[in-house]
Structure formats: structure tokens, C-alpha cells
């Protein structure tokens, strides 16, 4: 990310230190991870120790310090999804993609993550593929969720 773009985000929050999480959220939305250089720049601009940014990056679940894959596959692990078999769906996706939850495939195509409830429990088990919600996913149907982007 260009420094000017980062500065724009920082300035939109009036370079307010208490808005650090919001600023990092916006960078994460753009880059889908937090590049080290960008974090250093933010730390410098806000006069915060880099260690503080590091601790925030590792405390909050949405932040990632490593680049994510082209496609984001998120499995909801809320209770309603769990009792309907979300764990089996996750194992199947882990097996098909050959990664564990939280990892990215070697070809950088897919990142697989879990989320603790997206609050759309009627649809459980839910898998969110690049922002699109797939409901009532079963282990047998799990790999179909991955199909569309692969074909593109």
C-alpha cells in the first residue's frame, strides 16, 4: 500500500491514536493483511510503539500479518452451525484444500478461516465464500462452495 493512501486513512481519523483499531481495520480491508512496512508507517505517524500495533494485530481476530489468498473461505462455527455439523464441514474443507483452518493454500488461491457466528443461524451450517453466504452446507456439498471461483 502506498504511503499516501495510508496517510489518507490516518488523516480521515484526524490522526487520532484512539482510532488505531479503525485505521488498521481499513488497511486490512484494502490489503487483506497488515504489511510490516505499513504498520511501521502508522506507528511513526501516530507516535505509537510498533510493539503496540503488533499486539493489537495479534489480539484481534480480523487482523492478519501474513498475506491472504485470492479467495477467502470462512466457515461459521457458531453454536447453531456446530450442532448442525459445522465441524464436519470444516474438516472436509481442510481435507480438500490441504490446509488447516487459519492457513492459506500453497498456490495462494484460498484462505480458510473460521468465525464465531455471523448471526444468520437459520442458514446453518454456513460457509462464506468471498462475501457470499452459502447456507445449509453439508460435508458432502462443501467442496461445491469452492468450485465457482476456481472456474473463473
Amino acid at each position: 500500500m502506498k504511503k499516501a493512501a495510508v496517510d489518507k486513512i490516518i488523516d480521515s481519523y484526524g490522526a487520532d491514536r484512539s482510532q488505531i483499531i479503525a485505521i488498521m481495520n481499513e488497511v486490512q480491508d484494502e490489503e487483506r493483511y497488515l504489511p510490516e512496512e505499513t504498520l511501521k508507517h502508522i506507528a511513526q505517524r501516530l507516535e505509537l510503539p510498533l510493539a503496540q500495533l503488533y499486539s493489537i494485530s495479534t489480539f484481534y481476530r480480523v487482523f492478519s500479518l501474513v498475506p491472504k489468498g485470492k479467495h477467502q473461505c470462512t466457515v461459521c462455527m457458531g453454536t447453531a452451525c456446530h450442532v448442525r455439523g459445522a465441524e464436519r464441514v470444516l474438516s472436509e474443507l481442510e481435507r480438500v484444500l490441504k490446509v488447516k483452518s487459519g492457513e492459506t493454500t500453497k498456490d495462494k488461491q484460498f484462505s480458510l478461516d473460521t468465525v464465531n457466528c455471523v448471526g444468520a443461524c437459520a442458514l446453518g451450517p454456513i460457509v462464506i465464500m468471498d462475501g457470499e453466504y452459502h447456507g445449509q452446507v453439508t460435508a458432502a456439498k462443501a467442496r461445491n462452495v469452492l468450485k465457482k471461483p476456481e472456474a473463473k
Binding site: R17, S18, Q19, I20, I21, A22, M24, N25, S55, I56, F59, Y60, R61, V62, F63, M77, G78, T79, A80, H82, V83, R84, G85, R88, S91, E92, R95, V115, N116, C117, V118, G119, A120, C121, A122, L123, G124, I126, Y133, G135, T138, A139, A140
Partner: protein, 618 residues
């Protein structure tokens, strides 16, 4: 749309309301389509697009009003389309149904029978009022959800919106607090704390400025009423906050929205901008001399940030770690100033109390739990959705009368309430009236109102393990009892679910639970053992089956389950063989198949795909 002129007084609001009411279009056909997170996931956006296309083709576009709303609560039958004045509700609509709906219902004024909700084999319901799901409901807090356009200030004003604020600003702050006290409002987010008491403590606490905060970090898995309120009626929540802020003497508000709720955040931001434009926020609100601003903060996906002191630390830009609360946050919260935090649903109740009065509010509910409560009824249940019922209805009424019971005629086992801090209640407690105190007495809690229904196929040991695993991930790590204790309890539960449980494990879990409850710093840790304790209390036999017989009666725990094909039932159709990814299933066509246990990875796919129930899990 023209930029609205900021209203300067209650009289100007009243005049605006009257002019909007008289302008209200009468006689126009109105098609209401909920378009909230659940509905979008089921294709409501496609229906709206298609409807616009068809209406334009037929040159009917100007004669029909399309009303895009939030959720009506009955998620199971989404996407829903409601047509007025025909007064009909269509359920499970797809974009392909749109041309028929337009032709039959909008042009000819007839009903498309096949899209009506089937109440029984013979009978179909025409309107929402006829659906059993709504039978016991009293939709007060959610009255606008699914009815008004949440992005329209005019829609909200037409329901009488912001008139509670106008009324409140003419009252003395102490009078408002008294009214809320008389109503008996208790916090809807967790412990059910007395709202008026909290407000009063904050008001009288030394220190300026004071802060008023909306907790929209709805983290309990399985609960989504706050998302629905913010998506469907954001102005009501905001109006409640402004009234509360005035009562407390706060000039600065915050909303802390969880990261997983993008639409809720967007709709609330829209509401904030509109309120600013209309003069419900800013300086000298409605000429009362009261100033108030609201700042939006987004969470980062940390469950612990729903806890008040952690949430406030996060607003300050710090790690969301709770602190010991010798001094409560209402006295010293954000930047050590008095800070009053209530969740979305609690704030949404406030305009209702001001409009209808404390006496009206207090006659709903039970002795010590007043008003209604929104519950999300989810899991192994036929009618998944949000229900708003008076406090005191029984679990049975919620699960069976509204929820429609368990799918596929399976047997009810438990209902889990209160999220990771709550517990699992068995069948014998189904007649329990649901209110704050009764749930706590039964070893669970109200929490934010999630109710996860479990059937015979749910393993209660696995559920306990699930919650501890959740809390192990979400523990902030600050205090040892929570950080290490949960981890060790989880290790024992993992062992049990893997068939390596030992005699004495259950007693060890109970002992550790007591230690964590006594010593943890915040409510996350302090209530973490609840799911374990309640499942031990009510489902001890399942623990024993895992430990002594190395069996998982529900067939969930992978290590204790084997899959086999019943040769009597297998037709040799080959579907399981085709779907088996490890080649563990062999068999000739039209001959019974067999599973090779050495190759089987127990993914459960054969069990799912078999149409003849020939695959057995034991």
C-alpha cells in the same frame, strides 16, 4: 432527496409528522421485501432486481411501491414478499416466481396459492397473523422490523419516531430515570442488571464528560437480535441512546459494532447521518439546550470485547482486556470518566417506555422481569427465527408452539441459553417460565437471548467441549484462572471425547469449575464453566458412556464412532461409493456395499448422502 432542515423544536417535529402523514400515499399497491443479512443470503436482492425489471417491462413501475425492509424474524421462510392491500404473505419466494406474482397478484389481484405458508397438509396461511410462529409473540421492540425501510428517516418518523425524544427532552433527567425504574427495565445483554440504577449511578458519579455507549458487539454464538434491530430499525436504537444520554447527562456517545455485522454498521451510520441532518444529534437538540454526538467504533472480532471494561479499552484504542471492577465502569469507564453501557435491545426498549409509559411496560412480563424479550430460536428446530415474547412464557411454548418442534421427528434433548456463559436445560425443565431469575436458578442464564435447540443427535459432552474450545480461543489471557484453567478443562474434555477418559475426570472438571468461577477476573472466565457444569448436572449419563463404555450415544465424537452399511437396507445404488473420497467403500452395483474401516476417515459424507438410511453410525 432534498436536504432536510434541522428541526428546532418539538413543535416543528409534530408539524413535520402531520405533514408526512397527510402526504402518505393511499391506495397504491405496496410490495414489501425484507432484505437483511438472512434474506440476502437466500436471494432477496435478486427478487427485488427482478421485480423492478418486470414492473418496468409492464409499465407498472410508477404504480407500485417497493418497500425494502429489515427482517420480519421468521428466517426459515425467507425470502418473504408481502403485498398490500391484497394482504398476502408469500414465503420461500425465488426470483423466478416474480413474473407470476406480478401477473396474478399485482395485475389481477389474485393469490398465488402455492407460495402461501403451509400450516398443515390441507391449510395454507394467507397472512402473517395466521402463522403459528407469530401466535404468542408481542412484537413491540421489533414492531418496525420488516415493516419500514431502515434507511428512511421519513418511514421512522411516520411510526411516531423521535417523539419519545421530544417528550423526554421536556422532562427532567431524574424523571426519565424514575420512569425507567418504574418500568423495571433490566439489561438485555447479559446479566440483567437494573438499567435505571446504572443510569443513576452514572449520572451522579463525579467526572465530566460522561459517556453513553451502545454495545453492539453481540458475540454470543446463536444470538442475532441486535443485528436484526440495527439492520431493521436503527433509529429506534439511536433514539433510545439519545434519551438515555440526556438522562445521564452525557454529551458524547459511542456505538461499538462487531466486525461481522457489515450491514448493521452501514444502516446505523446512515441513521446517524440522518439524525444529524434532522437535528436529533448535534447542538441544542430540538431547542432543549442538550448537545450530543455519537462516534462509531468497529470491533476486531474479539468476543471478550462484549465485556464492558474490555469494550471501553478497545474504544480507547487498546487491547480489549477487561480489568478488575472494584470501581465500576459507570463510575470510571472510558478514559476514567463515568460511562454507561447498554446493549442494542436495551436501548431499543427506551423509546417504548417513554411513549407508552412505565405502567404499560411493567404490566408485561413477570414479577421481576418486565417487558418482552427477543429470543433467537436456532439449531435443531423447524422454525428458525427471532421471536419477541413477554417474559415468563415457557421454554416449551418457545420451542414447540413457536419453534414448531424438532425436524424429522427427532427427540428433543436440550435447549442451550445464555451463550458460552449459559447452560443446557433438559426436557424436564421445558415448563420453566423464561425470565432472568428463573434461568439463573436452573443453572443457565438469559444472556442476550440465544436459544440453541438440541436433539438426540447432539452429544452433550461435545457441546461442553465446543464451548470451552470457543472460550479458550476468546480468553484474552490476562488472568491465570481463565487462561490456564479453561485450557486444562478442555484437555480433559478432549480426552473424554477421544475415548481416553478416566474415572474421576468429571469430579476433576467440577473442582476446576469452582476454582475458575471464584478466581477469574471478568464474566467471560467467571461463567466459562457453566456449559460444563450444566451438562454434568443434567446429562451425567453421557459423560459416563464416554468414559466407561467408550461410546458416544449421539454418534458425534469422531474417535468413538464407526460407520457401517446395513446390508438389509443398502440397495447398491453406489452414491456413497462415488462420494467417498478415500476409496473406503467397495461393492458391486445393486449389491450391498461395505466400508473398509482402515481407510475410513469418518468424514460422515456417506451417512449424509445415503437416501435409504443404510449407513449406520454407532
Amino acid at each position: 432527496m432534498n436536504k432536510a432542515k434541522a428541526l428546532k423544536s418539538a413543535e416543528e417535529l409534530k408539524a413535520l409528522f402531520q405533514s408526512l402523514s397527510s402526504e402518505k400515499t393511499v391506495g397504491k399497491i405496496r410490495v414489501t421485501i425484507p432484505n437483511a443479512t438472512c434474506s440476502i443470503a437466500r436471494g432477496s436482492a435478486g427478487i427485488i432486481r427482478r421485480l423492478e425489471e418486470v414492473l418496468k417491462q409492464k409499465k407498472l413501475f410508477s404504480q407500485v411501491e417497493i418497500k425494502v425492509t429489515g427482517c420480519r424474524g421468521f428466517c426459515q421462510i425467507e425470502p418473504v414478499v408481502v403485498i398490500e392491500p391484497l394482504n398476502v404473505l408469500y414465503q420461500r419466494v425465488s426470483a423466478d416466481d416474480v413474473p407470476e406474482i406480478v401477473e396474478t397478484s399485482l395485475v389481477q389481484g389474485q393469490v398465488v396459492e402455492r407460495l402461501l405458508y403451509p400450516v398443515s397438509k390441507e391449510k395454507r396461511a394467507r397472512t402473517e397473523a395466521e402463522l403459528p410462529f407469530y401466535s404468542l409473540q408481542k412484537r413491540f421492540v421489533t414492531e418496525n422490523c420488516g415493516v419500514i425501510d431502515p434507511t428512511s428517516m421519513e418511514d421512522y418518523l411516520l411510526t411516531g419516531g423521535y417523539q419519545a425524544l421530544a417528550r423526554a427532552l421536556k422532562m427532567k433527567p431524574e424523571e426519565i430515570i424514575n420512569e425507567v425504574e418504574k418500568a423495571g427495565l433490566r439489561g438485555r445483554g447479559g446479566g440483567g442488571f437494573n438499567t435505571a440504577l446504572k443510569w443513576r449511578t452514572c449520572r451522579t458519579a463525579p467526572g465530566e464528560p460522561k459517556y453513553a455507549i451502545i454495545n453492539a458487539d453481540e458475540g454470543d454464538p446463536g444470538a442475532y437480535m441486535d443485528r436484526s434491530l440495527l439492520e431493521g430499525d436503527p433509529h429506534r436504537v439511536l433514539e433510545g441512546l439519545i434519551i438515555g444520554a440526556y438522562a445521564i447527562g452525557s454529551s458524547q456517545g459511542f456505538i461499538y459494532v462487531r466486525h461481522e455485522y457489515p450491514l448493521a454498521l452501514r444502516n446505523f451510520r446512515t441513521a446517524l447521518n440522518q439524525a444529524q441532518e434532522y437535528g436529533f444529534l448535534g447542538k441544542n437538540i430540538l431547542g432543549s439546550g442538550f448537545d450530543f454526538e455519537v462516534q462509531v467504533n468497529q470491533g476486531g472480532g474479539a468476543f471478550v470485547c462484549g465485556e464492558s471494561s474490555a469494550l471501553m479499552a478497545s474504544i480507547e484504542g487498546k487491547l480489549g482486556e477487561p480489568r478488575a471492577k472494584y470501581v465500576h465502569t459507570v463510575e470510571r469507564g472510558i478514559w476514567d470518566k463515568p460511562s454507561n453501557l447498554n446493549n442494542v435491545e436495551t436501548w431499543a426498549n427506551v423509546p417504548l417506555i417513554i411513549n407508552k409509559g412505565a405502567d404499560w411496560f411493567a404490566q408485561i412480563g413477570t414479577d421481576r422481569s418486565k417487558g418482552t424479550k427477543i429470543f433467537s430460536v436456532v439449531g435443531k428446530i423447524n422454525n428458525t427465527g427471532l421471536v419477541e415474547v413477554p417474559m415468563g412464557v415457557t421454554l416449551k411454548q418457545i420451542v414447540f408452539d413457536l419453534g414448531g418442534g424438532i425436524p424429522q421427528k427427532k427427540k428433543f434433548k436440550a435447549v442451550q441459553t445464555g451463550g458460552p456463559s449459559g447452560g443446557c436445560l433438559p426436557e424436564s425443565l421445558l415448563s420453566l417460565p423464561v425470565d432472568f431469575d428463573r434461568l439463573t436458578e436452573a443453572g443457565s442464564m438469559m444472556g442476550s437471548g440465544g436459544m440453541i435447540v438440541m436433539d438426540e443427535d447432539t452429544c452433550m459432552v461435545d457441546v461442553a467441549r465446543y464451548f470451552l474450545n470457543f472460550l479458550k480461543d476468546e480468553s484474552c489471557g490476562k488472568c491465570t484462572p481463565c487462561r490456564e484453567g479453561i485450557k486444562q478443562m478442555l484437555a480433559i474434555l478432549n480426552r473424554i471425547t477421544e475415548g481416553k477418559g478416566q474415572e474421576g475426570d468429571v469430579e476433576q472438571l467440577e473442582e476446576m469449575s469452582g476454582g475458575i468461577i471464584d478466581a477469574a477476573l471478568c464474566a467471560l472466565g467467571g461463567t466459562a464453566p457453566n456449559p460444563v457444569m450444566s451438562t454434568i448436572k443434567y446429562f451425567r449419563n453421557e459423560y459416563d458412556a464416554h468414559i466407561r463404555d467408550h461410546k458416544c450415544p449421539a454418534g458425534v465424537c469422531k474417535a468413538l464412532v464407526t460407520y457401517a452399511i446395513d446390508p438389509q437396507k443398502c440397495t447398491g445404488c453406489g452414491v456413497c461409493l462415488k462420494n467417498c473420497s478415500t476409496g473406503a467403500i467397495k461393492g458391486a452395483k445393486k449389491k450391498p456395499h461395505k466400508i473398509n474401516p482402515k481407510k475410513c476417515i469418518k468424514c460422515g459424507i456417506c451417512y449424509e448422502v445415503c437416501k435409504f438410511a443404510a449407513v449406520k453410525r454407532s
